[in-house]
């Protein structure tokens, strides 16, 4: 049974804003290890690079993977200007679909949204997975915690965010128009939400203590946009959260090590269930 696909093309309208939503897996099939549905929040590079992980996750869970407003074909109301706004949009989405016991899995920019959702309300959430998450500033004002991805060439960017840059390389001349446009929209939307302050909300740090659900940080160790020290400092701000590293993966570990990523997510879900039991 489908929750989301109000129309044949897999779109969903929340508060008048139409977004794309991928829904996979059985609604009542419990996530391996138990629990409700899994909400996957994609990174700043859009939904396309996450298609494989979504299918992998759906083998064991009911997965909902929205395309954020402003990305892909999803609409963007003029009033939506911050990750704070996006988090309220997703709180509305959770209400509208009446989802409970949700595991939120976010990567990078998606993890930032996840944290902004969770500091507001965890009423519908049971667990949080934050992969190579952005969203806070941990160093002093003259320390660049997060590398300036808009100040490097494309090859340098790929070398920065991937262990194997070939994974992220796209041949835009060969891709369909819609995918090229989606890449252009992803770049613009990322800037819209993350230009200044750069990939963080200065207010978020002092709110993270409100997240009182089990939280796992996954960290690709070859990330040169964010250091592992950044991840550990971020992790330490959320009560009880712990961090696991993923080798041979950079800023998007779900793209470079999808199987390991999925195993870690469900191992975490299982451990949580055991602990609760």
């Amino acid at each position: 049974m489908s929750l989301a696909a109000e129309s044949a093309d897999g779109s969903l309208t929340v508060g008048g804003v139409r977004i794309d939503l991928i829904e996979r897996g059985q609604r009542h099939s419990q996530a391996r290890g138990g629990g409700g549905p899994l909400l996957f929040l994609h990174a700043e590079n859009g939904i396309e690079p996450s298609r494989e992980i979504i299918e992998e996750l759906a083998k064991s869970a009911h997965v909902l993977a929205p395309t954020h407003p402003g990305f892909g074909r999803s609409e963007l109301p003029k009033s939506m200007r911050s990750v704070d706004d996006l988090s309220y949009f997703y709180l509305d989405l959770l209400d509208q679909l009446d989802l409970t016991d949700v595991t939120v899995v976010g990567v990078s920019f998606g993890a930032w949204i996840a944290a902004e959702i969770a500091v507001k309300s965890t009423a519908r959430l049971s667990r949080l997975v934050m992969a190579n998450a952005v969203g806070v500033k941990v160093g002093d004002r003259e320390t660049r915690d997060i590398a300036d991805i808009f100040a490097v060439t494309d090859p340098d960017y790929l070398a920065m965010v991937y262990c194997d840059p070939a994974v992220g390389k796209r041949d835009y001349k060969a891709l369909p128009d819609a995918e090229v446009l989606a890449a252009a929209r992803a770049r613009e939307a990322t800037a819209r939400f993350a230009w200044n302050p750069y990939f963080h909300n200065p207010r978020l740090k002092s709110r993270l203590h409100r997240i009182r659900i089990p939280t796992l940080f996954l960290w690709g160790t070859h990330d040169r946009m964010l250091s592992e020290a950044y991840g550990r400092a971020y992790c330490a701000m959320i009560p009880g959260a712990r961090l696991e590293t993923i080798e041979r993966a950079g800023h998007f570990p779900h793209e470079e090590q999808p199987k390991i990523f999925v195993e870690r997510v469900f191992a975490f879900c299982g451990k949580v269930e055991e602990r609760v039991a």
Binding site: E188, A191, N196
Partner: protein, 396 residues
């Protein structure tokens, strides 16, 4: 026709010392302040000479670059408001979308207008892509900020009965009350720049003076977009005075000398695009549809000759730059004929923004360039009969 002298006030002594970028990341250790001081004084002397020769003046600003030392254009305006007597002082432009505080902009420009006794032309611009790195304003919202800042400055200049309130998307004030009030009524003329027909239509509706820079024989379609929207909004055709064009000008008594000067002035074109690539197209500066084409490696050519031959502004030889209407160069007769022909192409163009100094062109060469232009070319341009505006607009 009016003519404005323009120089980017370059720090050319460092031009050959860069390693891939003259902007944003070029360390200022390459700038000797003593050399910079001498250059500034020289450039202001040349602007004063333009004033004495009956030529108007244009100033601009760029940031973090050896191609243009004027990083705070209001300083140049302030110097020239006092040091010149007759010239119009055109700022083209003031990147108001980048400014944190448009009240300050309104105060600065009102003060310049008063000190110059009403000689300010107020050009508001979006700014080239590289400026985003310096201001760190979100490029996605740059044009929204631009228009809100514009609306605010105009209201601040035209409100005379005490404070007003402004709580917009980007700017918040509760007691706006600009002293001194502007000299020109209701406010100094507004100018802007564009290369896009879409933006030209917006400027046409507002009736602002529209300048294009280096658009050569692609200029007509931008002007015609302006004409159509001006005509439909105002019920009459825009006069030639609504259009401005930035062209490089090198004039000498013989063609060989003129071409030498042309090549030196073209140093501006040679150096201006030397920018580390990531800063050339910040996200959101162009619409996503345009950026999709950029990702595919499809960028439309910007400059071509009258015959439709595409040229590279950065590398083209002087003769190609002349053919493209980017450089007006030769004897006074040649230069007059080239500019008049260009005006015909444009369907009328009433403000020549003359880059009469750039790069390694010396002070003596600059003074000679300006003097010869003022004596031999300008009188003929003043007498030049622009194409019939109504007929041109009707056919646009």
């Amino acid at each position: 026709m009016r003519v404005y002298q323009f120089s980017e006030q370059a720090y050319f002594p460092a031009w050959n010392e860069h390693s891939g970028s003259l902007r944003v990341i070029f360390p200022n250790q390459k700038c000797d302040p003593h050399v910079a001081a001498d250059l500034f004084h020289r450039y202001y002397d040349e602007y004063q000479a333009a004033d004495e020769l009956g030529i108007d003046i244009m100033l601009n600003e760029h940031h973090a670059t050896a191609t243009c030392m004027s990083s705070t254009v209001v300083v140049g305006l302030a110097i020239l408001a006092r040091a010149t007597k007759n010239a119009r002082l055109l700022v083209l432009g003031y990147p108001i979308g980048h400014r944190p505080d448009p009240l300050r902009v309104a105060e600065e420009l009102s003060t310049i207008d008063v000190i110059s006794r009403g000689r300010l032309d107020m050009g508001f611009i979006k700014g080239i892509p590289y400026e985003v790195a310096a201001s760190n304003q979100n490029p996605v919202y740059l044009m929204d900020r631009f228009w809100e800042a514009h609306d605010f400055v105009i209201k601040a200049m035209t409100t005379h009965d005490g404070p007003f309130n402004w709580e917009g998307e980007y700017f918040h004030y509760r007691q706006v009350n600009v002293w001194p009030r502007v000299w020109q009524q209701p406010h100094p003329p507004v100018w802007s720049t564009t290369g896009s027909p879409t933006q030209a239509r917006i400027l046409g509706e507002r009736g602002y003076v529209m300048a294009t820079l280096g658009t050569g024989f692609g200029t007509r379609k931008v002007y015609d977009a302006y004409r159509k929207s001006y005509l439909s909004k105002h019920g009459k055709a825009p006069g030639a005075d609504r259009f401005a064009y930035l062209g490089l000008v090198a004039v000498a008594n013989d063609r060989e000398e003129a071409r030498k000067r042309g090549e030196l002035i073209a140093g501006y074109l040679r150096t201006s695009p030397i920018v580390y690539p990531p800063f050339r197209n910040p996200p959101g500066y162009l619409p996503p549809e345009d950026n999709a084409r950029v990702l595919r490696g499809e960028s439309p050519p910007r400059t071509y000759t009258k015959a439709g031959r595409v040229i590279s502004m950065q590398n083209a030889p002087v003769d190609d730059l002349i053919d493209a209407g980017v450089l007006f160069c030769g004897t006074p007769d040649d230069v007059y004929a080239q500019i008049a022909a260009f005006c015909e192409h444009c369907g009328g163009m009433g403000n020549l923004l003359m880059m009469g100094q750039a790069g390694f062109l010396t002070h003596a060469q600059t003074i000679d360039n300006l003097s010869l232009f003022a004596r031999e070319v300008y009188p003929r341009l003043k007498a030049y009969q622009q194409p019939d505006a109504e007929a041109v607009a009707a056919a646009a």
